[in-house]
């Protein structure tokens, strides 16, 4: 049975609840970046799409792929590959967090999580746009 408007609203609330439960620190950032439209089904897909984008950026797996690409084109003067990617914090942030830089490689690998969410998005899209065999 295709997803109804009510189903989509309930699932959107459920995703928000899961985010608050498992990653409260990111909940605000994700919700702030999520646009709202006047269609519950689209809202659910937009929320899951924003969530994908958010965690993709925080995935160590993504970091490895980016570093591989950069190393394909850029070398150190002695021809060795670049050893990592990091973010240097401002002096004020260094004082607060007691670290000089954040190595992007230590981000957790979210590849599997992203794959699962991607499959769920595809399922939802199929539920929202059911096509018969002759269509």
């Amino acid at each position: 049975m295709p997803l109804s408007r009510e189903d989509a609203i309930e699932l959107t609330r459920f995703v928000e609840q899961l985010l608050r439960q498992y990653d409260a620190g990111s909940y605000e950032l994700i919700m702030r970046s999520t646009q709202r439209v006047d269609e519950p089904g689209r809202n659910l897909l937009i929320l899951l799409g924003t969530l994908m984008r958010f965690y993709k950026e925080r995935s160590g797996g993504e970091h490895a792929r980016i570093l591989d690409t950069i190393n394909h084109y850029v070398r150190l003067p002695d021809e060795r590959p670049i050893q990592g990617l990091s973010v240097e914090l401002s002096p004020a942030e260094q004082e607060i967090y007691n670290v000089e830089e954040v190595d992007l490689a230590v981000l957790p690998d979210r590849t599997q999580f992203l794959d699962e969410i991607h499959r769920i998005i595809e399922d939802i899209e199929r539920q929202m746009n059911p096509r018969g065999p002759n269509e």
């Binding site: 620190g25 394909h72 084109y73 050893q83 990592g84 240097e88 401002s90 399922d123």
Partner: protein, 221 residues
């Protein structure tokens, strides 16, 4: 798949992959600090590919074995790692990240002191080689903005302002590049200005760029 099955799959995915020990979370720097940085690195990976494949530069990272982005922008500090662009064995330009350039208006005013309006940030820049501090607008070959957020009108107005402060609007002038991002720009000095965004809506705002010489790319990670 029905609603109940979707709920079950969502709950399973979150539980399996987002459960992190409390002590691990406590050691992490908040996400807001590194917000947008992996996308910036991703765009950088696309840029270096273009500079090598399309423009024929050789690229060398100098100043350290790791590529460092900055959580807050600033002037060029030559002790930081940066990428040199080599042609025929000579370093002709440099690529830096998170740099504030001195504006066209600052140069016109010939003011002895800097105010907050005297410089603007670019996420990635290619500038003349050997510069220290904030590069003048005239030293910018290429400026890039990376937006991993929903693209809205305010961001278009922001990039139009950056275009204004990089160059005067004019007829087409040859840039420092043969093909990418563009061989000519309606700008004097003829800097290139590029926006990469994860939001496909960026293309709905790209028309003014055709007039003023701003290239918009929708590039999801």
């Amino acid at each position: 798949m029905n609603k109940a099955q979707i709920r079950k799959q969502l709950a399973s995915a979150f539980k399996k992959h987002l459960s992190v020990e409390r002590e691990t979370v406590a050691r992490l720097v908040p996400a807001s600090v590194t917000e947008g940085k992996l996308y910036e690195a991703y765009v950088l990976s696309r840029i270096v590919a273009k500079l090598v494949d399309d423009e024929g530069f050789s690229l060398v990272l100098v100043g350290g074995p790791k590529l460092k982005l900055k959580s807050s922008p600033g002037p060029i500090n030559r002790s930081y790692p940066h990428i040199e662009l080599h042609r025929y064995g000579n370093c002709v330009a440099e690529l830096w990240t998170d740099v504030k350039f001195l504006t066209l208006s600052y140069s016109r005013l010939m003011s002895p002191s800097l105010t907050r309006g005297s410089y603007h940030e670019l996420d990635i820049v290619v500038v003349d080689a050997g510069i220290t501090g904030r590069p003048p607008h005239s030293a910018v070959w290429l400026g890039i903005e990376c937006k991993n957020t929903s693209y809205q009108k305010g961001l278009l107005k922001e990039i139009l302002g950056v275009r204004r402060e990089l160059s005067l609007f004019t007829g087409p002038i040859k840039t420092k590049f043969s093909t990418w991002p563009r061989p000519y720009a309606p700008a004097d000095p003829p800097s290139c200005l590029v926006v990469f965004a994860t939001d496909a809506a960026v293309l709905e705002y790209s028309e003014p760029g055709e007039v003023f010489g701003i290239d918009f790319f929708h590039e999801a990670m």
